[in-house]
Symmetry: C2
Subunit: 428 residues, 2 copies
């Protein structure tokens, strides 16, 4: 981890810059896959799955038998753990339901909003080394609470054409309506355009590699909504003399093991703490199975010494981290100063892992500085809010003249006339 | 207007399809403008303004003197009308503030969300025939209520290098922090990348022509958020025997005058009503200054006869209109059946113009069927929600084991270890 001591504010922007990755030919490659799936549908999916996942499937949809079988393959302990996480995530996302507020803006003019579920949503769950069943909880639970009718899940099969049982178990538990064995950009295309077996959806959510991310970006331009733009995962930890170096090191490593492109940032007012954390980092690192990945990630990472926790928060707001851990006993006094972050962990016992799995908060969060302008996934991600207005005779009499004047000033005579015909009728 | 009688449900999808427009070369043209502004900043803006707006500017920012002058050019009546609209829009958007809800998901695990303003936003207001100062109210007021610190507005100057005084007056009234004389794709680029005089922003909102729309689409891929994808404006009116044909015709025309690509749709259970509306359409059309535009728009438009109001709502949900007018005395009984619409107008006195200007609802709404997956602009558009969690010793003891099990099952050992080190410390 690179160490930066008391950098002047003028250098903060450049320190906060994320690494950019070479995306040569990515757009072209992905656009070709999208086009191919749009045209040849299931046939293209079968072909791409043979090519990329090395398995020739006869059918894309996961069967009821496969799901029942998966349930038997999961230990009782893991099932209970998933149930506990599900319960907490449900409690928090249920608390995000909004009351309908009706307001009379002028006598006779009543306005309100109604939250309505997006009817059909698609969830993408990557394959690879780690079967991310926790992400199914994070996406499926709010989709279900919102009331989405169709919740489609796509995830790549292994070389035997199977899906990890924890994924099947969790998907079934949260009420996913259909599960398909398809991954990569071709899965995004399938959910965006629809095929003979995979229904098209109105919004696609979930993490993925650069092909998946690019496919989501491209399909968004065709009117299909996506959760948010994506980048490598990251954590920023603010530590002071009340931090526990062992805990901080463990938190930094839990982020670093995600991928070689993960970034961890340590801000502190206390150089002794940094030294202790570094000692801990080294000893804990050696015990990790994913040591090589974590080591690479740490190479992209840095610590910054600053003069006060307030200054650390200011730096963090500029960095806009996906995860912000304030590893201090005094964490809660800084809450109001935080303006840009995805999810915040307060105090020494709030580890990022808690939010990743089971505290109840969502772990699908804005990376790459997008916490400046995007929220993480929440119940809001699965609904849209329709506005309503009811204008009575009295109402149009109260606001009609203002509308006529404004419409006229904008040169929109027919807009004005829609009011005039009503006022005339009332006055006659 | 094309008349379609009782189409089978199997044909609804194709009836609901919006016209697509030829966008050849658009991406390339706009990408060049973005690149040029990124590289040459203000110099590029001055050049594009000379090229497209036919005026050579010496300075891009509107001065305080220009704003004071504008105030004197607006009539007292129009000022009062704008003030009334502002007050209603403020009341409705203030009602969208959310209470912070803290929940204890498990004993010792507390989660909540905090709404924080997006620090810097950019508003785009088109030039052209109609000076859309009403859109400044719709974007500037919620931005101000949200607490955005920098609210930048870009709008193209006329050939004399001036901005319409109603635009300057309204921008100053709602608290826009800086106004710039720049339009088109180059304005989007300027707000996205920043130039010597125009600050970069984190989110760009506002309507525009196809160049502006494409520029927003492209810049979104660089991590700058936008309000929503855009398409031509549209209204769907459901009329029954309790409708007033004169009002319905006026509402259809108020939409049709927007542009030749606007679409108006009439659904009804009553053929006599259609006949009366058509008679009214013809007589009102002849009185309009923008008759030619409205006439062209009506050519893209259609009416559909259906068997019941319920069926009309079902059709409307498939169409997902930007504006839905239920021109019926019984409108309110159908509210719960509406699943896809931008803004809904209930009853005979709730004309679309009311929502366009002064009822209090926002007029920046999803078009082109995007009401299926997008909300209109609201206070939500100017904030992001940061999640917080505070896990106590007791909390991590309650959920720690579940996290360990799940992290292990996902193959993420360091995630597990972040919990283990804490549990070990507590137990020692």
């Amino acid at each position: 981890m690179k160490v930066i001591k008391n950098p002047p504010v003028s250098e903060w922007n450049s320190i906060c810059k994320r690494a950019t990755f070479d995306k040569n030919n990515l757009t072209e490659t992905v656009a070709t896959i999208l086009e191919e799936v749009k045209l040849n549908k299931d046939k293209a999916l079968i072909q791409y799955t043979a090519l990329f996942d090395k398995v020739k499937l006869s059918s894309l949809e996961v069967t009821k038998e496969e799901i029942s079988e998966a349930k038997n393959l999961i230990s009782k302990e893991l099932k209970e753990a998933i149930q506990l996480a599900k319960s907490n995530i449900e409690i928090f996302h249920n608390s995000q339901k909004e009351q309908e507020v009706k307001v009379e803006t002028t006598a006779g003019v009543t306005c309100w909003r109604k939250s309505v579920a997006i009817e059909k949503v698609g969830l993408y769950i990557p394959g690879g080394t780690a079967p991310l069943f926790s992400t199914i909880l994070m996406l499926g639970i709010p989709a279900k609470i919102a009331g989405c009718k169709e919740i489609v899940l796509c995830t790549p099969p292994n070389k035997k054409g199977a899906i990890n049982p924890a994924i099947l178990y969790t998907a079934s538990l949260v009420g996913v309506t259909k599960i398909f064995k398809v991954g990569g950009a071709q899965a995004i295309a399938a959910m965006g355009y629809g095929t003979e077996t995979i229904p098209n959806v109105y919004k696609i959510l979930g993490p993925g590699n650069q092909y998946v991310t690019k496919a989501k970006e491209l399909i968004q331009q065709e009117g299909i909504a996506i959760d948010m733009p994506a980048g490598p995962s990251e954590v920023l930890v603010i530590a002071d003399e009340t931090s526990n170096p062992k805990f901080v090191a463990a938190d930094l490593l839990s982020q670093a093991e995600h991928g070689v492109d993960s970034q961890v940032v340590l801000l502190t007012t206390n150089e002794e703490v940094v030294a202790s954390i570094n000692v801990e980092l080294e000893s804990q690192l050696n015990l990790l199975a994913r040591k090589e990945i974590a080591l690479k990630a740490l190479e992209n990472s840095f610590s910054v010494s600053l003069n006060s926790i307030e200054e650390c928060i200011q730096f963090s707001n500029k960095y806009a981290p996906e995860h912000l851990i304030i590893a201090s006993e005094k964490a809660s006094i800084y809450i109001d100063k935080i303006t840009n972050a995805g999810s915040v962990f307060l105090g020494n016992y709030s580890c990022e892992s808690a939010g990743d799995y089971a505290s109840g908060t969502n772990h699908t969060l804005p990376t790459n500085g997008y916490a400046k302008n995007y929220s993480g996934v929440s119940l809001d991600s699965f609904i849209k809010k329709i506005t309503f207005q009811e204008v009575t005779k009295q109402g149009i009499q109260n606001i009609g003249n203002a509308i006529e004047l404004m419409a006229e000033a904008e040169g929109l005579q027919a807009h004005k006339n829609a009011v005039t015909v009503r006022l005339n009728e009332i006055n006659n």
